[in-house]
């Protein structure tokens, strides 16, 4: 995947043709609209990734503050957040590694849902810790084909500040979170190795792995 720091101007830079009266203006507007709609989304840059994480992080803290006491309701809340902000297919492919190619479409969807549920349960357990934190974006790095890395500092109430890195992927022009790294511990790398280990223990049977992931996610 290539990334660029140059904003795409296709559509916005097009000069409207001369037109006479309302009819000409309408045709020009339609052409202009068509150009804007058909143009690829502007490539994201590191600043945009930082802003995306700032907004997503603040939203998560707000959600955490209003989170219900019921564990299932909290998990559902986090699941919706992940649906909106996580690069679920990228995460699923990366964690399944070569097995992804061997899965049929139905298995891919069920595997991705199982990873999604497991992550939702994991982060739902963090919600109470997040509720009283302050969140600050320190800087963002353009990692080229690897996407973006956004460095943040999370200050817990009465605690030492913790540096958290967010891996952001540009997926078809949309920024999505692909990993979350605290003190060097990558959730994504952990999931990949856990899935690899489960595949080894189950002789490569992805159905057994999906069943195990669902069971750990409480489904």
């Amino acid at each position: 995947m290539q990334t660029s720091t140059k904003p795409c101007t296709l559509g916005f830079g097009a000069r409207p043709p001369k037109a006479r009266g309302w009819r000409g203006l309408a045709i020009a507007s339609l052409l202009f609209g068509a150009l804007v709609i058909s143009a690829p989304a502007p490539a994201a840059d590191a600043d945009a990734a930082g802003e995306y994480i700032r907004a997503a992080g603040e939203r998560f803290v707000e959600l955490a503050k209003a989170a219900p006491d019921d564990a299932d309701a909290r998990t559902a809340l986090v699941r919706n957040f992940l649906t909106e902000h996580a690069a679920l297919n990228v995460i699923a492919r990366f964690t399944a590694a070569r097995t992804w190619r061997e899965m049929d479409q139905d298995q891919r969807v069920r595997y991705r849902d199982a990873i999604h549920s497991l992550a939702a349960r994991f982060f739902a357990g963090r919600v109470t810790e997040v509720a009283n934190t302050e969140f600050e974006v320190i800087r963002s790095i353009d990692a080229g084909r690897k996407g973006f890395l956004v460095i943040t500092r999370i200050q817990a109430e009465n605690g030492q500040p913790t540096e958290v890195e967010w891996r952001v992927a540009d997926v078809d022009g949309e920024l999505r979170i692909a990993d979350f790294v605290v003190e060097g511990i990558s959730v994504l790398v952990n999931y990949r190795d856990e899935v690899r280990s489960l595949l080894e223990q189950n002789s490569g049977d992805i159905e057994a792995v999906i069943a195990h992931l669902n069971s750990q996610a409480g489904l």
Binding site: V90, F94, L118, F122, R145, G147, E183, I185, E194
Partner: protein, 268 residues
């Protein structure tokens, strides 16, 4: 203030044996592997570690987790935090020594001042006045000192009751027990063993309490708790060994999410 003399004959003998054992372990440690570039997780002792993990998980489920849960219910958060700060304060002399060994005299000086401030003004470390004065924690240990001099992890270990470590880090832990210049070493030597045991139990419960939810998740909600614990330990230690990474090193560390699937079009 710092004294390594033991006056009790049995303690002297025990210390000599421990020091001898640690010396052998260190010699092995230095000769077996030096400065290996560890970018992947190699686990040659997996077949031994897995059963130990099952035992440790059982010990956590039936002993440590209930004890810690009770501790968190009975002892108010502020008091628990105070206990944690006192234990951290007790570790600071050895932390300062390790900063010196790692040729970082500035960090050693800051840690020494932190220890003095929190001991004298912070009532033995109950209150962390040093952080407010711009002297936050700068933790390090003997395992990181060994790493500073190029000693690799050698192998990942999960030890009964002690949990995750590596051969290198366990060497550091064992040596610190012998040389720790913390105040506990200088009380009545006939009671040193009891003191150490008590401190060890309190540290274990305090550490489990501080990371209560995250350890519960790793042990009971992860897809494979052995792998989750091992990876978390090793990734965190490797980051500590590498210190503050510059941006290029951080990018180098990132796994490639797309490389293997560049021909796929359903990324989102």
């Amino acid at each position: 203030m710092l004294s390594f003399q033991s006056h009790h004959p049995r303690m002297r003998s025990a210390r000599r044996s421990a020091a001898h054992g640690v010396a052998i372990a260190l010699a092995a440690l230095f000769t077996l592997e030096v400065a290996a570039a560890e970018t992947a997780i190699d686990d040659p002792l997996l077949v031994i570690n897995r059963p130990v993990h099952v035992f440790n998980k059982g010990a956590d489920r039936f002993v440590l987790r209930p004890v810690t849960s009770g501790y968190r219910q009975v002892v108010p958060r502020e008091i628990r935090n105070g206990i944690g700060r006192v234990l951290e304060n007790l570790s600071l002399p050895l932390v300062a020594v390790n900063h010196v060994l790692q040729l970082n005299p500035d960090a050693a000086a800051r840690t020494s001042v932190r220890f003095a401030m929190n001991t004298l003004i912070g009532v033995g470390g109950i209150f962390d006045v040093a952080t407010a004065e711009g002297l936050p924690r700068e933790p390090t240990d003997l395992g990181l000192t060994f790493a500073h001099y190029g000693v690799g992890e050698i192998a990942y270990l999960e030890l009964p009751l002690l949990g995750p470590t590596t051969v290198r880090d366990f060497g550091g832990t064992a040596l610190s027990i012998v040389v720790d210049p913390a105040p506990g070493t200088h009380i009545d030597q006939s009671k040193a063993s009891e003191y150490r045991t008590g401190q060890g139990i309190l540290e274990t419960v305090d550490r489990r309490s501080q990371h209560y939810e995250i350890v519960n998740d790793l042990l009971y909600s992860s897809a494979d708790s052995y792998i989750a614990l091992r990876n978390s330990y090793l990734q965190r230690r490797r980051r500590q060994v590498n210190g503050d990474l510059d941006d290029a090193a951080r990018v180098d560390e990132l796994p490639d999410l797309f490389g293997e699937f560049e021909d796929e079009d359903d990324a989102n």
